[in-house]
Amino acid sequence: MIAILIQLAALFGLLSILAFGGGAGVIPDMQRAAVEHYHWMTGREFLDLFAISRAAPGPGSLIVVLIGQKAAGLAGAAVSFVAMFVPSCLLAYVVAQFWHRAGGTQWRKLLERALAPIAIGMTFASGLSLMRGTEHGWLAYTITLASTAAFAFTGINPVLLLAGGGVAVLLAGG
């Protein structure tokens, strides 16, 4: 039990500082460790946990809580959560402090203008790569397209869209 907790702490502590470009980038590493290396779960179970973490509210990286829960119960979930979030949050805090000190300086304004289109591009990129990374059939494409348009051009509540998507796949027997 203690051995598994140490494995979880080491695994997610390392992935926390390696997760450049967001939590999704290290999902393949998590999968390899949890399924093939430590045999905490099957590949199918990992995929289900991934879907849960994406459908549940909050950040997608909360999959580490589920992996920890499966591997070592509540203690495993707690250790995984701390290991995954504390190191990267400390880094984010340090960057925020530097940014704050830069105040209204010219170079910060320049950086703000330069980073805006980059951030917008990254928003599209994460949607596109999630689509590539899952088995997206015609039904899923239709749902994604419809919810993209609805969210971009109407004031509809996203929670309604999410519920609708869930019901649609359920009724289609997907």
């Binding site: 997760a19 939590g23 959560f81 990267s88 984010a92 703000e112 949607g127 993209t148 969210f151």
Partner: protein, 187 residues
């Protein structure tokens, strides 16, 4: 310029704001909700501040949205603000994920398990749509120049479609975007 909003929230307001962000955001839609709450509803930041925080959060390793919460909290209220935002964002979702995980492990192998994963798949497809819809909204508001369209499209296609690593794409695109912003001068 000159529209920097000085509203400085209390720690409780910050915590509460991020509780609702954490609860109302699913899958890829998190940054969308954060912008809606922090920029549109509460006016704690303006779009350029938010977007630069979003991009910086991607440059720092770790979950982007969690980093962004820490970033926003730290900008508004220092280290205690960072902790309030982080705690607000994660506490309820962690509890929910644990409960859903518990149910999942219980339902495993039972027939009711398969409809559970159908619903998950449908919600996942919508979550991707929320992500893309957010991109469209942000683009309509914040992109005014052809060079910016080109930069946003290059990042989206190289990372999202061609599968380049984000780190590589940023190493090329951030300097290019800086150059374009510098050449175009202050608006």
């Amino acid at each position: 310029m000159g529209n920097r909003v000085p509203a400085r929230p209390t720690l409780a307001a910050l915590f509460g704001g991020f509780v609702s962000i954490g609860m109302m955001s699913f899958g890829g839609g998190l940054a969308a909700w954060m912008r809606r709450e922090v920029v549109q509803r509460r006016g704690w930041m303006d779009d350029p501040q938010f977007l630069s925080g979003y991009a910086l959060s991607q440059l720092v390793p770790g979950a982007t949205n969690v980093n962004l919460a820490v970033f926003i909290g730290a900008q508004l209220r220092g280290w205690s603000g960072a902790i309030a935002a982080f705690a607000g964002l994660t506490t309820l979702p962690v509890t929910i994920v644990l409960v859903v995980g518990f149910i999942y492990f219980r339902l495993q192998g039972m027939p009711s398990g398969s409809w559970f994963s159908s619903v998950l798949a449908g919600m996942g497809a919508v979550a991707i749509g929320l992500n893309l819809g957010t991109g469209i909204r942000l683009a309509r508001r914040n992109i005014t120049q052809v060079s910016q369209i080109a930069i946003a499209a290059a990042v989206a296609i190289s990372v999202g479609v061609l599968g380049f690593s984000l780190v590589h794409a940023l190493l090329v695109m951030v300097p290019l975007s800086l150059l374009a912003a510098w050449l175009s001068g202050p608006r």
